[in-house]
Amino acid sequence: MARVVLNALRKSFGAVEVIKGVDLDVEDGEFCVFVGPSGCGKSTLLRMISGLEEVTSGTIEIGGADVTRAEPSKRGIAMVFQSYALYPHLTVRENMGFGLSLARMPKDQIAAEVDKVAAILQLEPLLDRKPKALSGGQRQRVAIGRAIVRDPGVFLFDEPLSNLDAALRSQMRLELTDLHARLGATMIYVTHDQVEAMTMADKIVVLNAGRIEQVGTPMDLYERPATPFVAGFIGSPKMNLFEGEVARRMGASVYGIRPEHLKVSDDDGTWQGTVRHVERLGADTILHVEVPDLGPVLARIEGHRTYAHGARVYLTPDPEREFRYTPSAVD
């Protein structure tokens, strides 16, 4: 059992408070993703859970035990770094067995464990190579293998896919999801990519400036974002958000509508505007429409419909899908 519980966790570097009181409960076997913009403290929070960063105040529990002050190796965790952090002077086999050899496990037992994991990750042909003779994707797989060999209760990933190209990234996303289903371990995954968060997570934690903005399943966050920040962060293309006078006229301090929930018509609608840009993605087309009073608005239409630059269009928001935020939700 490896449930992770964070209680009022805080972290300061000198006078700067980076994590400002985080309470979180990650269930056993859950795939939990931390997302947030750069510098919001995702890595710091993950490193605190791993024990690489000291906790200023608050507590961390892993599997029912308080590990706030425990050594990283005593916490039953394994970490996969963004840079992979493979030991360059060791072969793949030695890299994967390093933790076990430190624990003074007999050699044949280590070899058996490594072979077992290598089979899961299809690493057998590479076992005797050094990391520098591997491609980025293979290195990533070795780094994940090294984590699995230690058989931890909790896996910690810090942006493990951000150094890979788009095709490999989507493949690794699927592999990680499979791996999670297969191992049944708790996984905590940091990313700034909301697509990774939406596709892999059981639970998404949106962080903003050292605080938790909202916690929920991917569809929860998509359909019921609690704050304008979450609304703008989850979903692609971004939700249209309006504030100030415009929003006040619509009865809110911030008004939001997703591009996919705007009906685009040639002759009739709520807002009238001119097409400024047309982005064709194949299945969909994204229109950038300049609406007087509102400013630029994104709308998503099917791929086969096109509009010329400068065309006049009408936009109608789906009344069921509008978001109106009152001042209390805004800050």
Binding site: G51, M79, S83, A85, Y87, P88, F98, G99, L102
Partner: protein, 136 residues
């Protein structure tokens, strides 16, 4: 004499090692710590093996310097019993006459040890030099 050479060489070696260690990413130490290594194990099992190239460079550069060193032995080691080879060269030169035949014989003899070292350790020395040069 050895102590003196150590004293003179140390600052340069520390500089080299220090530059090289700082080029090892922190993630590696941290990965080892998460893997359960004690600080000593981090040093001996991760850092030290990675220092191999710079260690070789230091050994090569320092041995050449010390072997060629003339002034320090001259100042610190008076007397004929414990002078170094470089000093023996000057036995054959004087203000008015030089015994050139003996001088060149001596040069030949002196060349032999480094030559032998080079013949046998050629591979490591070249590796050490390049790795020291490119990836500081």
């Amino acid at each position: 004499m050895i102590l003196i050479q150590v004293a003179y060489g140390l600052s340069f070696c520390i500089l080299l090692f220090r530059a090289f260690i700082s080029s090892i990413p922190r993630d590696l130490d941290e990965a080892a710590i998460v893997d359960g290594a004690t600080p000593l194990q981090v040093f001996f099992r991760v850092i030290l093996p990675l220092l191999k190239p710079v260690t070789l460079t230091v050994i090569v550069v320092q041995s050449i310097t010390i072997f060629n060193d003339f002034t320090h032995p001259l100042y610190y080691l008076p007397g004929a019993e414990n002078i170094t080879v470089q000093l023996t060269l000057y036995n054959f030169q004087s203000q008015f006459t030089s015994q050139l035949n003996l001088l060149f014989m001596n040069i030949l003899l002196i060349t032999i040890p480094p030559l032998l070292v080079f013949v046998f350790f050629n591979r490591q020395i070249v590796a050490g030099m390049t790795s020291g040069a490119v990836k500081g």
